[in-house]
Amino acid sequence: MKPDRKFVMLIAALVIALFFLPFVTDALLGRGWVRILDFAMLYIMLALGLNIVVGYAGLLDLGYIAFFAVGAYCYALTDSPHLAQAFPMLFPVGVHLPFWIVLPMAALVAGGFGVLLGAPTLRLRGDYLAIVTLGFGEIIRIFLNNLNAPVNLTNGPQGISFIDPISVLCVSLNKTQTFFGIAFPSVHLYFYLFLAFTALVIFVSQRLEKSRIGRAWMAIREDEVAASAMGINTRNLKLLAFAMGAMFGGASGALFAGFQGFVSPESFSLMESIMVLCMVVLGGMGNIAGVILGGVLLALLPEVLRNIVVPLQQALFGRTLVDPESLRMLLFGSALIVMMLYRPAGLLPSRLRRREFGGDDAAAEESVYDATH
């Protein structure tokens, strides 16, 4: 993409629009929506990270949320009073490292876990890999749940609370700050922080996709034997895919912990892994814009339902007949079925996937199956 005038204008317009977005949602939809947008962005970051593993390298990972958990607990352990309470001898006042140190640390630790998952699964593909990764995700969650004895490392199911909020340049994001006479509530500040990180994740994803590494991943996805015969070090590149994906997950986990102020194992259930995978698949595997769209849609869906279905039922029947949570699963399931039938390549498929599924007429005409096929 060349940085021509039109492109620069578009980016500028987007930046301005996103800057005002939290104020607009506050005014139009009510107070709670910026927080929902914050979560949506965490999901987008997660989905883009998983897209590296699943979309680029073709390694089906059903335990991706484990890396989010690792990142979140990294931040939670270092920046909360928990360590000081659990190990008063070792950490009399806790650790409390600044955010800019903990964030890369969380990413690196999660990346290490990515390699830990990748190394024993190098020979597995498809369904078999999915089963092992699913197990890995559950192992991490169960560990977090049970590591409160014999030494209280994770505080078990109660989780870790009183996590220090994120502060950027000595400005705490946890309270309303006033700049140039405009008051920015905490959720707005987090919105801008997450927006910046999402932009960074998008940028890195895009560079990876076009890079030599990205092309090697795609070759591995298509045919591992041939890729290896081309001179691609398939072992290292698969490990790198796991590690890169895990690092994105870990970094968003740290952001989540700082934003939420509380983490517990139940935030990292299998359903969350599946949710993130669905964002990738629904939007269009391997395509950054598609993955973002999938993330936005699936992150906002439950909130939209809650805000529409309940008042609607109240107005119609005077009481809530169907719980929005169960309706969510119903809609979600039907959406997936409809997708499989009508848009198997995703809502915004990548250029190649679109052609593969014959959506592009020109390509469909070109494809010639001669007698040999």
């Binding site: 030599r212 092309r215 090697a216 795609m218 070759a219 996805r221 298509e222 045919d223 034997v225 041939a226 890729a227 290896s228 015969a229 081309m230 001179g231 691609i232 070090n233 398939t234 190649l352 996937r353 052609r355 593969e356 390509a363 070109e366 494809s367 010639v368 199956y369 001669d370 007698a371 040999t372 096929h373």
Partner: protein, 238 residues
């Protein structure tokens, strides 16, 4: 045989406890086209995969260009000039023809040379040049075979290993592919050709090996093998 580019002696390969290759000797001289023929399950593909580094030998020696390949990983062998066109072609289906060919040059770094070679491939396979932006998965079997061969050539190999290039192709296409193999060999490339279609393979090759249940049964000049009674009876239906 001091000028052999590839020299295999006593090579053994096993899958678990099953011995697929039971100690074979084989050599390919520089610029030579050697055919390795035999029926299904004889161990031909296993031999090529072992040479490419995708399988590990249980015994024996592989020497390439005078050096032992024992501890050389698969991806390093590609950089040393050993190229494999895998069985079933193994094209990158969801990548375009051009992207496939560029993957072949993965271990090379000189971009202008790669661009020149790309043009050379389109000259060798004009059909690929016409469709360079088409997804490889949407091509016919013969065209995919061309992609696989061109992709292997993009690594500027010294030894080209072809695994069953005629598999699943229409007779006309088979003829085309073998004409191309002859052309490539005429340029001085060393080729190890694995085929079930014994007649075709022996017609283009200079020498041949006949493999059966993991061992080499016969070897010799291609013309002699083509005329020999044993080969006639076993593989050529005569």
């Amino acid at each position: 045989m001091t000028d052999s580019l590839l020299e295999i002696s006593g090579l053994k390969v096993a899958y678990g406890g099953i011995h697929a290759i039971k100690g074979i000797d084989l050599h390919v001289a520089s610029g030579e086209l050697v055919a390795l023929i035999g029926s299904n399950g004889a161990g031909k593909t296993t031999t090529l995969k072992t040479l490419a580094g995708l399988l590990h030998p249980a015994g024996g020696q592989i020497r390439y260009d005078g050096k032992s390949l024992d501890s050389v990983a698969a991806h390093r062998r590609a950089a040393m000039g050993i190229a494999l066109v895998p069985e079933g072609r193994g094209v990158f289906a969801r990548m375009t023809i051009e992207e496939n060919l560029l993957m072949g040059a993965y271990s090379r770094s000189n971009n202008s040379e790669i661009a020149t070679d790309l043009e050379r491939m389109y000259g060798l396979f004009p059909r690929l040049g016409e469709r360079k932006d088409q997804l490889a998965g949407t091509l016919s079997g013969g065209e995919q075979q061309m992609v696989a061969m061109a992709r292997a050539l993009m690594s500027r190999p010294r030894l080209l290993m072809l695994d069953e290039p005629s598999m699943g192709l229409a007779p006309l296409m088979v003829q085309k592919i073998f004409d191309t193999i002859r052309d490539i060999a005429a340029l001085g490339m060393s080729i190890l050709l694995v085929e079930q279609n014994a007649r075709l393979a022996l017609e283009v090759a200079q020498r041949g090996y006949v493999m059966e249940s993991g061992a080499i049964m016969l070897s010799g000049a291609a013309g002699e093998l083509l005329g020999s009674d044993a080969v006639q009876r076993a593989y050529l239906g005569g």
